[in-house]
Assembly symmetry: C2
Homo-oligomer: 344 residues x 2
């Protein structure tokens, strides 16, 4: 089969690789129908993660089961399945708690595991990991495109909103207008926030934010942005979604949180970070979040998506086929695309 392989910074290639085969009785082989390129893929693409040549790419995907191992109980050949960006055994302490990203046996797609920017994958712990999609959606490409972001970006936006403690009738602020930030707006809206302020600077993205429910847009930077949010909210937002992952975005998030409120952080930090602990301390601002347990959220979000109540597909503004994956990376790297959908 053909799959995307990392070679060097700025260099991913679609190549012939061995077909995936069942290795463990809990595996499934899935033919990919839809995948995405993630903002976090740009880290290795830009040489900022320690990736090795030969590693596979793509952690967001959906497809049709082709074969299951002898111990797979809940899935069969022909089922359409959605994969959260991490696989998990579904049985351990953390899987039982809904924190599947901490599964003792789990891992992430890509790297030394199969990746989703490919024709097919071997999926370990198929029962614990994959979520079957109702048969009724088959053939509805618009609905499939609305389901695809649940694999990561929409679940991550939801995790930011849940972690920030978004409440009905209160104010949420979202730092960052990337695909995750936009999904964070939609998640805050879905959880009932009355006022949703987005901090970003890209007109095309901010238009989607408005469409997703943002009531206010702040386009200034750093201290100026902080001042504006503090004034608009008379002291800060109860819930702040940090959807970037830099020191400066975290600083902004902590400064615009109302005393007693929370920052829900889902932007991937790299290593240690210097943060404003004094402000957190004096104002009892909590920091919650991390890598989203998408597997825990997908059933609930899928139900709303199938019912037509949740649709973040506007973040998928460019579509490529498998051969187009390298150009898709370049388009995201150049900020020409918000997020790329891949249809192998």
């Amino acid at each position: 089969m053909r799959a995307t392989v990392y070679h060097a910074p700025g260099d991913v290639r679609v190549e012939n690789v061995p077909d995936p085969v069942i290795k463990n009785p809990t595996d499934a082989i899935v033919r990919i129908t839809h995948a995405c390129i993630c903002g976090s893929d740009l880290w290795f693409y830009r040489g900022l993660d320690n990736w090795k040549p030969g590693w596979r790419t793509g952690h967001e995907w959906m497809g049709i089961v082709e074969e299951v191992g002898s111990e797979v109980r809940n899935l069969k050949k022909g089922d359409r399945v959605l994969a959260p960006f991490a696989f998990s055994d579904g049985t351990c302490e953390f899987c039982s708690k809904g924190l599947q990203t901490s599964c003792f046996e789990g891992g992430f797609w890509g790297g030394q595991n199969d990746g989703g920017q490919a024709e097919a994958v071997r999926a370990p712990f198929a029962d614990g990991t994959l979520v079957a999609i109702p048969q009724e959606v088959e053939g509805d490409e618009k609905l499939l495109k609305a389901i695809l972001p649940l694999t990561d970006v929409m679940s991550t936006g939801h995790h930011a909103a849940v972690s920030a403690g978004v409440q009905k009738g209160k104010t949420a602020a979202v730092v960052g207008d990337g695909a995750v930030g936009l999904c964070g707006v939609l998640a805050a809206k879905r959880l009932g926030a009355e006022r949703i302020i987005i901090l970003g600077r890209h007109e095309k993205r901010l238009a989607i934010a408005r469409q997703f429910g943002a009531t206010d847009v702040v386009t200034s930077r750093d201290e100026q942005a902080v001042q504006e949010v503090i004034e608009m909210t008379k002291g800060g937002a109860e819930s702040v979604l940090e959807c970037v992952g830099t020191e400066s975005s975290m600083d902004t998030a902590i400064k615009i949180t109302r005393p007693g409120g929370a920052v829900g952080f889902v932007g991937v930090p790299h290593g240690r970070g210097s943060i404003n602990l004094s402000r957190m301390f004096m104002s009892n601002i909590a920091l919650h979040g991390g890598v989203a347990p998408a597997r825990a959220y997908i059933p609930e979000l899928l139900k709303d998506t199938v019912a037509g109540k949740l649709d973040s597909s506007a973040v998928l503004d460019v579509t490529v086929d498998l051969n187009g994956v390298p150009s898709g990376y370049a388009a995201m790297d150049n900020r020409e695309a918000i997020k790329v959908m891949v249809q192998p």
Copy 2:
């Protein structure tokens, strides 16, 4: 009257100062019967805070009301009252939420306000701030000594436990064996933690920790301590109480927290801090806490204390009179005392 006044690092003096008088109709004048020296007082005593000569000291106190302003409704001359370490108007958004430390009109005792290491204080917002103590305790010195720590250290230990999400039957770890850490052990016990691990190195303090409910003691440092707690708990404690406030203690706290768990931090940080955001992110470890809203906790903790169910007075291991305050500071600075009680 006489009051303790800061002059320079290592130099606090008991001096004659003007008697306090009612300035605002919501004030009360309170004659101090009991006060404490706090571990956080050592910051200015050691020259680590930007204190100015002439500032008053002492934020933990209890006393008898001598006079009230015309708008004070809930207190009268002769009432015994306990003061949380921060005063607050009792009516604003944050006071209503139980986050009185963020009161728009509030402040802390000492500095440019009156301090508790004195014969008397002017207490602003007496109704919003002071808690009346039942008449029945009068004359019971043992009980009064058990009530006194609610002004700060016991409420702060409780805040650490609440912020760390201590749950019945689960494991809590407490970083630090100072007075706050010891109160954190007692708070975790009170909230039902089954296993309570304390990390500390002072035998006398650890003996109190055991008396307060610690089931395990870890006396090693840094990475060794982390390894021991991870092994004992097979992956970390659900709740970790950070009761020191240094970068190293916060590092330890984050490393010994179980995925999905929380660090409740009450150790006073100074400025920014470099923290292990990557571990927090990958394991969804939350950071909660800050300056304790003691005013919100005192009624509940006072009830248990008066009922004989809560007694942290063992942390008050040295008692001095007002003239003894400077030697009390020296004893805490030299670690000869855990915490000093002052009886003016």
